[in-house]
């Protein structure tokens, strides 16, 4: 029997076009991100403000062998992690909202990401998620760009690499999506 593959090996295989490697990679990353998010959210009692990109970064450092990592693999890891991080946080916020509904003190999960979305210091996670779902109905590419930048902390260059599109397109779409979201979330 062959030994189980680690996250670094799976990432390299996926980068080489092996789609089965992605199927094996997702649950490993999901499980680590979920563990990190749960630990964080358990420690903080009220009105959480968290930086999803910090948790994604922590998961990367824990799961990936830094010596063999290439930047393209890093970008792809963050691409997967961004999507999973969003799902974990939205699930958490919804469960909490359902548990607290009607109660006197509604707990709110806010997120912040080094000022990436502009003026607001923190954002209501569910409001952002719902706005992104709406954006996806008319521009799925922009929705993915915001997800990668905001939940994964990817740079313009890394986002272009993950999505296999040009830097100029990412920059334009990022600007447009941010303008739309600011208006939507005001």
């Amino acid at each position: 029997m062959s030994p189980p593959e680690n996250v670094s090996q799976l990432l390299v295989k996926w980068g080489e076009g092996d789609q089965a490697a992605l199927d094996k990679l997702m649950p490993l990353v999901y499980s680590e991100l979920r563990r990190l998010a749960s630990n964080y959210l358990r420690r903080e009692r009220q009105n959480h403000t968290l930086q999803p990109t910090a948790l994604v970064n922590e998961a990367y450092l824990k799961l990936i062998d830094q010596k063999s990592a290439r930047w393209q693999n890093r970008a792809h890891f963050y691409g997967v992690a961004a999507q999973l991080m969003r799902r974990i946080l939205v699930d958490h916020a919804r469960q909490h909202q359902a548990a607290k509904r009607g109660g006197p003190s509604q707990e709110r999960l806010s997120i912040t990401s080094a000022g990436q979305l502009g003026e607001k210091p923190d954002l209501d996670l569910l409001a952002l998620h719902e706005a992104l779902e709406e954006l996806k109905t008319f521009d799925a590419q922009q929705e993915r760009i915001v997800e990668l930048r905001y939940f994964g902390g990817l740079s313009i260059e890394e986002t272009a690499e993950v999505m296999a599109i040009g830097h100029a397109t990412v920059e334009r779409d990022w600007k447009m999506a941010r303008a739309w979201l600011r208006r939507k979330l005001d």
Partner: protein
């Protein structure tokens, strides 16, 4: 009471907005008219 009307964004309408946005980006800053 007057009902608030807000146009629903569609992929076609968004594509037009994107084209206008791109055209503005293609102009040098001095050529862009400032909207206030």
């Amino acid at each position: 009471m007057e009902a608030k009307t807000r146009k629903v964004m569609t992929p076609e309408r968004w594509q037009k907005v994107k084209e206008i946005f791109q055209a503005a980006l293609n102009r040098v800053p001095a050529e862009r008219r400032v909207c206030r």
